[in-house]
């Protein structure tokens, strides 16, 4: 499924957060949103998935989502958002129970996604027993269980330590290689952006406008062999962002 973001502006009261955002999200592409903190990138993600209503403009689905998709626009959150009173299995089952599926069908789906994320042995563990990386893996499994047409990922690796982040990034790449999912990926980490993004959208500081869109044509699984090129891209991105980040850092939050 493709999405089209048309003329989106968003205010919180008098505070202008986003301004005139236009963006196309193409099938099978990972679009990374980067920008200084407080630039509205997470807000934009919430607007895309309908968790918030834009003040102006709209987000269009450009085609019908595939029939087997239970929840076309599916989020993965920075803080995992796993219910601590439900086991891994039950956390996934939570998002399937409201669809007209039999217990058996639910079980088949859960077994399948647990296998795909290598979590089968942890089905009955509680979230508190899992490391951060495992928790995010469960959240990914939960997202996969509803066969999303577009994954909306809000800094999914930011709460993890750098080693776990590296491992999970590899997982995401191989997952994308297998499933060619469409995603919008919000991050403040430029290294993640150049590793995972087909298209990198740089937002300015508040009010966020699109400052630059960078496309990277290297195949995701090949990127490890193009370190120099990626480093160059990353440097370029940082040059664009640095000024913005400096000013944004010094802004008073409620000014």
């Amino acid at each position: 499924m493709e999405l089209s973001i048309q003329n989106i502006s968003h205010n919180y009261g008098n505070l202008e957060v986003l301004k005139d955002i236009n963006l196309e999200i193409k099938q099978g592409q990972i679009v990374c949103l980067v920008g200084p903190s407080g630039c509205g990138k997470s807000t934009l993600l919430r607007l895309i998935g309908g968790l918030e209503k834009p003040t102006n403009g709209k987000v269009m689905q450009m085609s019908e989502p595939p029939k087997d998709s239970l929840n076309p626009l599916t989020y993965i959150f920075q803080d995992f958002a796993l219910l601590p009173w439900r086991s891994v299995y039950d956390n996934i089952s939570l998002v399937l129970e409201d669809h007209k599926l039999s217990k058996k069908e639910i079980d088949v789906i859960i077994s399948d996604v647990l296998k795909r994320t290598e979590l089968t042995n942890f089905a009955h563990a509680l979230p508190k027993q899992l490391s951060g990386g495992m928790k995010q893996r469960v959240a990914i499994a939960r997202a996969l269980s509803v066969s999303p047409a577009v994954m909306l990922m809000d800094e999914p690796l930011s709460a993890l330590d750098s080693q776990t982040r590296e491992l999970l990034m590899d997982d995401l790449i191989s997952l994308w290689e297998r499933e060619k999912f469409t995603a919008v990926y919000v991050t403040h980490n430029l290294a993640e952006a150049v590793r995972l993004g087909h298209k990198i959208v740089v937002l300015s500081r508040r009010p966020g406008i699109i400052k630059k869109v960078v496309e990277i044509d290297i195949d995701l699984k090949d990127r490890k062999n193009h370190i120099l090129e990626l480093n160059k891209k990353q440097d370029d991105l940082w040059k664009i962002m640095k000024e913005e980040a400096l000013v944004a850092d010094k802004e008073l939050i409620n000014a």
Partner: protein, 265 residues
């Protein structure tokens, strides 16, 4: 660095961590009671000030042997259970409505704020007129007394449920009822249970008040009667029973909490 200035870094961390120490609690009890027993039997503490612990125990044994203990305990426990069951059930229900619906919140919060600080004991005569001098007024007093704190604990617990969980539920297209049943209620359960704990303690306090009017049997009535006769041994025997009821109830809530909230610790 000079050799003679060499020394081990001294330890300065540690402490400030609550740790359970077994046996200390019972020992404190034994010491206090032993001290009182010694004081009262030597005459160092006059028996007008405090009763002899062994005398209190004696009264308790007599109470048990004569079957009066049962006769006092049963009506009191029934009043406590019926009253606090009504109060807590309706309290949770109203607390949920306040927590979930802004209209109910706007309408009822001022009412709750106005009624909460009223000492319910002051309303006992009113309840006697409304519900009769028999069990009705006693149930009503305990129910109202446990109702208010349960409401406040319940809606506060709902307000404290992590909004990210609710956002998550919405993002997966969960129905409203699913979000309430599977996210808000279990998330609010710890807060609701600690509210229940407080409500039950208040229930015991109000039990004594409720038995002020029109009760022949009941631990509260027993204590009040002993108090008005300055029969300190019976007074203390009654108070001890109330305290034991409180400890048992508190412990039972603890058991329920551990059962229902395994996911927490």
């Amino acid at each position: 660095m000079l050799n003679k200035s060499k020394k081990e870094v001294s330890f300065r961390g540690g402490g400030f961590v609550p740790k359970p120490i077994l046996y200390i609690g019972p020992i404190v009890f034994v010491v206090i009671i032993g001290f009182l027993e010694w004081g009262t039997s030597t005459g160092w503490i006059s028996d007008l000030t405090l009763p002899k612990p062994s005398g209190v125990f004696q009264v308790f044994i007599e109470l048990y042997d004569s079957g009066l203990l049962y006769k006092h305990l049963m009506p009191s426990l029934t009043r406590l259970l019926v009253g606090s069951f009504l109060g807590i059930t309706f309290g949770i229900a109203v607390g949920l409505l306040i927590g979930l619906f802004n209209l109910v919140r706007a309408g009822l919060l001022p009412v709750v704020a106005a009624l909460f600080p009223i000492p319910k004991i002051a309303l006992l005569p009113l309840f006697v007129i409304w519900f009769g001098i028999d069990e009705g007024s006693k149930y009503a007093l305990i129910a109202l007394g446990t109702f208010m704190p349960t409401i406040v604990a319940t809606y506060a617990a709902i307000d404290n449920v992590d909004r990210n969980f609710i956002r998550m539920g919405q993002s997966f297209g969960l129905t409203w009822i699913s979000i309430v049943r599977k996210i808000i209620l279990p998330g609010a359960l710890p807060g609701i249970l600690s509210g229940v704990r407080i409500s039950l303690a208040i229930g015991i306090i109000l039990l004594v008040a409720a038995e002020m009017l029109g009760a022949t049997y009941g631990i509260g009535a027993y204590v009040l009667e002993a108090g008005s006769l300055y029969d300190l041994e019976r007074l203390f025997a009654g108070v001890t029973i109330l305290s034991i009821i409180g400890v048992i109830i508190n412990w039972s809530v603890g058991v329920v909490e551990r059962k229902l909230l395994i996911w927490r610790n």
